[in-house]
Symmetry: C2
Subunit: 130 residues, 2 copies
DNA sequence: ACTTGACTCTCCCATGATGGTAAGGTTTAT
DNA sequence: ATAAACCTTACCATCATGGGAGAGTCAAGT
């Protein structure tokens, strides 16, 4: 399987597959004589894992750790759970930050009449925020 | 006022002030004979505006638009409101994406006993996600 | 006057994840 | 044989920010 097929099958772009290889997230694949990377079902499986972990917001660094655990038959599920919970906490932090922005901005926007007149509590609010 | 003072007063790093100047977000400041940038109260005011808009999650590009409106005495508040509401919609999208990740991951983590045993629904769930 | 420390200047590099493009080689199908 | 579709590497861009090097400047204390 060439990289394009692996990309289509895993929903990871060829560009990213090469990138993951270069940063050491995945092993270097075998090559044809012409230098084409060759992939197999298990590689696609791995790439799909990566893709889904990305969809869950894990960083490539965290995914690296997940992959070591995935590969390790003697892993403790507690280790995986710890990673996941740390990531949930991180998501919570980010959600809270965005929500706070949203709240503040919504309050400002509600106070703005939004017509042709120039006076606008949004700009005032940004300028004068405590 | 030198850049360091302006940075402290506005809570925008000197590094960023130079950057904002270079990308055209703020005007080039006057310089001393030695080439030191000189700032005044109104510059600090502007930088604080930028800082707060950043805190609300506006991109520098959006901030550029906000600044034009800020500077324009004949602006229509509707234009500002439109920008703000577009940004709120963007925040909503991002919050929803993160929340969905959080939900999925929490479900997986709850199913993981998190002990010394290797079997772990989190890794399974990532690998087998629909 | 001279040193010292704190400041400033520009320039280059790095982040994280991804995409684009260019210039060239390969494979496959017509 | 030729064209289409693919692959390769290498470089550049994004976005906002920080780090560091190497050199110049300024103010305060000796």
């Amino acid at each position: 399987m060439n990289i394009g097929d692996a990309a289509r099958a895993s929903d990871v772009s060829a560009k990213m597959i090469r990138h993951y290889e270069r940063i050491g997230l995945i092993r270097t694949s075998s090559r044809t004589q012409a230098g084409y990377r060759q992939y197999h079902e298990r590689d696609v499986h791995l790439l799909r894992f990566i893709r889904r972990a990305r969809d869950l917001g894990f960083s490539l660094d965290q995914i690296g750790q997940l992959l070591s655990l995935w590969d390790d038959p003697g892993r403790a599920s507690a280790d995986v759970k710890r990673l996941a919970e740390a990531h949930i906490a991180d998501l919570d932090t980010r959600i809270a930050a965005l929500s706070e922005m949203r709240t503040t901005l919504t309050t400002l926007a509600q106070a703005c009449h939004g017509d042709h007149r120039p006076d606008c509590p949004i700009l005032q609010g940004i300028a004068d925020a405590t």
